[in-house]
């Protein structure tokens, strides 16, 4: 795995962390919670090296 690929995964993990934190902090809007989770799915699939 090249350096750029490793950096890419680190960026994915960072954005995943941000989205997860936003999801935890969201108190009222169910719509926003759903959106955070939907955006998380492709990022998690990439981090898990599935797609």
């Amino acid at each position: 795995m090249g350096v750029i690929m490793i950096l890419y995964y680190l960026i994915c993990a960072y954005i995943t962390g941000l989205l997860a934190w936003d999801f935890v902090r969201e108190k009222k809007s169910v719509n926003d919670m759903i959106l955070y989770l939907l955006v998380l799915i492709p990022l998690l699939l990439r981090i898990l090296r599935i797609k």
Binding site: M5, I34, I41, L48, K51
Partner: protein, 387 residues
């Protein structure tokens, strides 16, 4: 539990279900292994990483099946799945590995040249993940791959792919297309390493012929043909005329453009002494104006929209109610490859190659593809390889 966390837990569970439903088939596809029974002619199996160590341990490190005859002679390389969504090449390669017996010279077969693309999918275009070939002992299942390497193995893509060494500007996606990355380099992107490994094999082992098997749309002019550069043109022309006269199918010759870089039929000839040939068999499945991209369409090539276009003379191949079945496409690849070897051997008796056991066009059209695959369950374990 608070109301907020009750809702959040339910949403997390729902997202997890979505992720599993979407991800599990893709994970299974990427890790599904196709058994290939090494036939009586296989004398060795090597890896591309023997020529470029940087490939070792990666998904791109393809197997090379070596079938060496008792009598010394010339050497021919047959490559399939350069584009892993063009399955006739792969089926032809497996038929060769499982059935060919080399009497003189050496046959080398790479069934999954872009091994990573063979584990990639194109779900956005509704591609099936697998296709089954019926045999006497049950269905033999193959992965349906994609044209390009999986981004899990090579990423990110550049804005524009600058071809090495000619610096020609190509589409960004071509950096993951092993028919644009020839002749490659040992320290370039992964697919350049793959093509460089094959070039090194051709140069070090002094291969005489390289045959790259593909499929092309019926609406694309470069289909149902042999693409050859000037140095291979005489043999390609003789092959085209012979299969038309003796076996009754068309396979015209297309010249390899000298100023379009990265293609096997261009760069192999320019960067080695090997004679390259690229075979294109029509594959209606890849045409844009078809019905759903089903396994049936992939295998029988029958489509009502293409039939209608054929009547308006919009296709570059003859097309009727019989479509373009897989046995016809595989048959063409087998016969054209065998004829290239025969014509080369007639012109070069010192480095002639003699091969038996590979069926020809008429055999495949009559019997189908399935009868030429061997049951891995009944084969010796040591002769079963997983691709």
């Amino acid at each position: 539990m608070s109301r907020e966390w009750t809702i959040k837990s339910a949403l997390i569970a729902f997202a997890a279900v979505l992720m599993i439903l979407g991800g599990a088939p893709l994970y299974k596809h990427r890790h599904y292994e196709v058994p290939v029974v090494a036939g009586p002619g296989v004398t060795n199996v090597i890896k591309l990483s023997e020529f470029v160590p940087g490939l070792k341990g990666s998904m791109a490190d393809a197997d090379v099946f070596v079938l060496e005859g008792k009598e010394p002679g010339g050497k021919v390389l047959v490559m399939a799945n350069t584009h892993a969504n063009e399955p006739a090449g792969l089926l032809t390669a497996v038929i060769m590995i499982e059935n060919a017996v080399v009497e003189k010279g050496t046959l080398m077969v790479i069934p999954e040249f872009n091994a990573s693309a063979g584990r990639n999918t194109r779900p956005g275009d509704g591609y099936p993940l697998y296709y089954d070939i019926p045999t006497e002992w049950g269905a033999k299942r193959f992965r349906m791959g994609n044209r390009d390497t999986s981004p899990l193995d090579q990423w990110p893509d550049p804005d524009v792919y600058i071809h090495y060494p000619d610096k020609q500007l190509l589409s960004f996606i071509d950096v993951r297309n092993t028919n644009r990355t020839w002749p490659g380099r040992p320290n370039g992107p992964l697919m350049e390493k793959v093509t460089f490994a094959a070039m090194e094999m051709m140069r070090k082992d002094r291969l005489n012929i390289a045959i790259d098997m593909h499929g092309a749309e019926t609406m694309f002019p470069v289909t149902n043909c042999i693409v050859a550069p000037q140095k291979s043109a005489k043999i390609a022309t003789l092959v085209s005329m012979t299969v038309k006269a003796m076996e009754g199918f068309d396979n015209h010759v297309e010249p390899s453009p000298s100023n379009f870089h990265g293609l096997s039929h261009r760069e192999i000839g320019d960067f080695s002494d090997t004679l390259p040939f690229l075979l294109e068999a029509p594959i209606p499945f890849l045409d844009q104006p078809t019905g759903p991209k089903t396994v049936k369409l992939l295998l029988d090539g029958k489509d009502p929209f293409l039939l209608s276009l054929s009547k308006k003379k919009k296709l570059f191949v003859p097309y009727d109610e019989n479509g373009w079945p897989i046995e016809k496409r595989v048959g063409q690849h087998c016969s054209v490859a065998l004829e290239i070897i025969r014509q080369y051997s007639k012109k070069n008796p010192d480095t002639a190659i003699r091969i038996s056991g590979i069926p020809r066009y008429a055999d495949l059209v009559k019997n189908g593809v399935g009868p030429y695959f061997h049951d891995p369950a009944k084969a010796e374990k040591k002769s079963v390889y997983y691709e």
